[in-house]
């Protein structure tokens, strides 16, 4: 398998606070790479940095995607190249229907808008098309519904790499299985996934995992092992005593 994404020594400082301190990892085609770590350790910040969100330009390091350096590319250029992101808290819009929102991904790839594809994508995330297609993606949708619609829009984009920032948070148990199926769908289509999660169940879908602590990856390896380490050493934090930064991959 070839390297899809290479993140090399990324440093990011915002308002004089260094939030990412030399992040380093890679993801291969069709691979699910999970990032875990305590609240505030920099997972979402990394997601924004990879996507190129305003004010998240790294001061040091390189992001290489499909052999191209992304550092200077705009968000939409990265998206056109096949990288996309589902936000931890997805945006809501006045007056934009679920149908319109979902058709954007198709349109931007130059594909005709196909009602069938849109319905299929919604079904994949267990959202009934008949009930939702004409609704606005505004504050009347629940948090879990909004997140699942976000996932459906990623499915339609057929990207090469998706960043899923806590796709499971605020989602009920039944929908959780659907999210797992969506992850498998991406994997089968060769789409790489950067999966940010706090959930043990989601970790089962990962091929590899990394533990982030204060803006650094302190361990990489099998998801179970990383999760066990996290539970036994990080909660509560034992950093002063015995945290080692060895990478076991």
């Amino acid at each position: 398998m070839s390297k899809l994404l290479e993140v090399k020594d990324i440093h990011l400082t915002i308002d004089e606070a260094e939030i990412l301190k030399g992040m380093e990892f890679s993801i291969e085609q069709g691979e699910v790479f999970a990032l875990i770590g305590p609240n505030g350790c920099g997972k979402s910040t990394l997601a924004y940095t990879l996507m190129g969100i305003n004010n998240y330009q790294p001061q040091k390091g390189e992001i290489v995607f499909k052999g191209k350096n992304l550092n200077k590319m705009k968000i939409n250029e990265r998206a056109k190249l096949g990288l996309t992101l589902a936000w931890q808290e997805p945006a809501r819009y006045h007056g934009v229907t679920v149908r319109e929102f979902l058709s954007l991904g198709l349109k931007s790839r130059g594909e005709d808008v196909s009602e069938k594809k849109i319905r299929d994508a919604l079904n994949q995330v267990a959202i009934r098309p008949g009930q939702y297609l004409d609704r606005f993606i505004d504050k009347t949708l629940s948090g879990g519904e909004r997140k699942r619609i976000e996932l459906a829009s990623l499915i339609l984009m057929e990207p090469d790499l998706v960043i899923l920032d806590e796709p499971d948070s605020g989602v009920d148990v039944v929908a959780l299985n659907n999210i797992g199926e969506v992850i498998n769908h991406f994997r089968e289509n060769g789409t790489g996934i950067l999966l940010i999660t706090h959930s043990e169940e989601m970790l089962h879908y990962a091929d590899r995992a990394a533990l982030v602590c204060e803006g650094e990856i302190i361990r990489q390896g099998k998801p179970d092992a990383i999760s066990d380490y996290f539970k036994s050493y990080c909660l509560p934090c034992h950093k002063e005593v015995e945290c080692d930064t060895e990478v076991a991959s």
Binding site: I53, N76, T84, A91, Y93, H94, E100, R109
Partner: protein
């Protein structure tokens, strides 16, 4: 082509439906002070009469108990580059009656046009009135609209107004609507306007929730670019038990545009409640960047957000 045909064509160009030959649909067509067409249906009296130079009085009366099935279509306008049209509108929806009016005001060639609307609207108990006004002012910015409305909604009555101007220039708009509400009465006033160049928009909407359990919603959504300017004065007062209201003003600005929102909320009864929300600024960055992460460039993404806001 005669005046009537020219007016109807301009109306259709501005997106209006062709309903003027349908005998089940009441209508009025006015060009300046010329009454080019009028038709009414059972239970409804729709009538126009010229009362002075450039001035037409329009009556809309719905008899008690009549629910008028098809919306009444009104087409007002000035076709030449210059002109003046003053409409004195008198609407009376009697007890248990209902009507919807769709007014299209079109000034496609305007360079120096004045359109003045003075309305008195009375809605009797359990009556309901929906008024949708759509404007098209052409591309010259040469229209000045001055609209005043004096609205009285009796117990259990309901009024909904929706104003939109989404294509072409605004020119200058100055609205002043004032509504008094009795027990269980409800009013909802919506405005959707897109301004550009040196367009100037001033809207004052006031609802007085005097009756028990009366309801009021004032909702303005404005998009402005270039050196457009908007001032929105939304006022809700609530002075009776169970009276509830909400003021919502969202304005998105670009370039050198300036938007002001001045909400006034006043509550003078412990069991009444009024809330307000105002958001003025450029396009929201999370909304924008989410769409850009779907591959849209910044211009396309902000267009979708603004169109959505105005269609809401």
């Amino acid at each position: 082509m005669n005046d009537y045909q020219m007016m109807v064509d301009a109306y259709k160009d501005a997106g209006g439906e062709d309903v003027f030959s349908d005998s089940d649909v009441a209508h009025i067509v006015l060009e300046r002070d010329k009454i080019l067409g009028q038709h009414t249906v059972e239970g409804l009296n729709v009538q126009a009469e010229k009362t002075a130079e450039d001035t037409v009085k329009v009556f809309v009366t719905v008899e008690s108990g009549y629910k008028i099935k098809n919306p009444v279509h009104m087409c007002f306008g000035v076709l030449p580059e210059e002109g003046r049209q003053k409409i004195d509108m008198n609407v009376h929806v009697k007890e248990n009656a209902h009507v919807e009016v769709r007014a299209d005001c079109i000034f496609p060639n305007a360079v120096k046009v004045e359109h003045i609307m003075d309305a008195v609207i009375n809605i009797d108990p359990h009556g309901s009135y929906i008024y949708k006004e759509h404007h098209f002012h052409g591309d010259n910015g040469g229209v000045e609209v001055i609209a005043r409305s004096d609205i009285n909604v009796k117990s259990d009555g309901k009024l909904t107004t929706k104003f939109d101007l989404l294509k072409g220039r605004v020119g200058k708009i100055d609205f002043d609507y004032e509504a008094e509400l009795a027990d269980n009465a409800a009013v909802e006033m919506l405005a959707r306007i897109s301004g550009q160049k040196d367009d100037f928009i001033k809207i004052r909407e006031a609802g007085h929730l005097n009756g028990k359990n009366s309801r009021g919603v004032l909702d303005s959504k404005i998009a402005l670019k270039d050196s457009g300017e908007a001032e929105i004065y939304n006022e809700l007062t609530a002075g009776a038990a169970g009276a509830m209201g909400h003021v919502d003003c969202t304005e998105i600005i670009k370039d050198k545009a300036v938007a002001r929102a001045v909400p006034i909320v006043e509550v003078s009864h412990p069991e009444a409640k009024v809330t307000h929300e105002a958001a003025i600024g450029s396009v929201d960055s999370t909304q924008l960047q989410t769409l850009m992460a779907r591959g849209l460039d910044e211009r396309e993404a902000s267009e979708i957000i603004i169109q959505g806001l105005l269609n809401d």
